[in-house]
Symmetry: C2
DNA sequence: CACGATTTAATCGTGTACAATATATTTTTG
DNA sequence: CAAAAATATATTGTACACGATTAAATCGTG
């Protein structure tokens, strides 16, 4: 016998990698990345960069802080990523005159013009998932609840 | 009108970040990582390192290749990760005498002894997910199907 | 048996992630 | 109003992740 105090002992079968929800999420995230790569390569974007562009296409100019809240990423990740998007000519960055602490990220002409490619990208990925709209919605909603639980510490 | 040829145009509402299944997966993977961090820190493990240990606890000695197949990671990721596990004294690495191309990864005494901590780790994470066993199984199976679809290119 | 093709790991370069720290700019308070 | 606290971003160090390349060993076919 291995464990009695802290709840039930978990049977070995349940400890297998394939049974872990965390691994299913982890491996699916990688699979999505790989599915996106050939599509996004055509636009010179990485997947996290594409997410930033999605937020900007949806909401327009935003401070770094807000982008970070949307994507759940901190400045240590976003600063270099935004620098690369700026070098690619897709976004601009400027200190907010009202509050010099903030850096406002905006779309350039080139970055805004790229928005019309979203249909192509989302259609290709939608195809690759092999899921109908109900299954996508089901899975997405379950994941959102799970994420909220995990974050609620 | 934006798009008629390539299937239907996707309404703007569907393009929002929160509606994307890929982002739900991406953000949940990060949330899992953060939930694991304080637990795994106590054992000096990162989350990917923990996954490698899970595989070794389950199957014993394995070549790098097989570990990569289990986790869907390549040698560019595993080589440095395994080197750190070796430096931490949890695993050993040795060329297979039968086939010198292969490196067999094995558990040290210390690494094998750590297995009894799995109950604690999995219980803590299970708690953090806030999901009952049915919901975990449901979500895991849906993700496994999704991953298979995405990988089937 | 030889020699080219394949297999297996390691290495290198680029790009996330994140904790910890640094810096500059508000905002709050004594 | 000045010092302290809070806020926003950038930087640094460590650790994945992956494509591309390299190097060593084995295999396959002539």
């Amino acid at each position: 016998m291995t464990n009695k105090v802290q709840g039930q002992a978990i049977p070995d079968e349940e400890k297998r990698l394939e049974r872990q929800l965390c691994f299913a999420v982890y491996a699916t995230a990688h699979a999505f990345n790989r599915a996106y790569k050939p599509i996004l390569d055509r636009f010179g974007l990485t997947y996290p960069q594409y997410l930033v562009m999605l937020v900007l296409w949806e909401k327009g100019c935003l401070p770094v802080k807000t982008i970070g809240e949307q994507l759940d990423l901190d400045s240590g990740t976003l600063s270099p990523l935004l620098k690369r998007l700026e070098q690619a000519g897709l976004i601009g960055r400027a200190r907010d005159p009202k509050d010099e602490r903030q850096v406002i990220v905006s779309l350039t002409e080139k970055g805004a013009g790229m928005k019309c490619q979203v249909n192509t990208i989302m259609s290709a990925i939608g195809e690759a998932t092999g899921c109908d709209m109900d299954e996508v919605a089901n899975l997405r909603d379950r994941l959102q609840r799970l994420r909220a639980n995990l974050t609620a510490e």
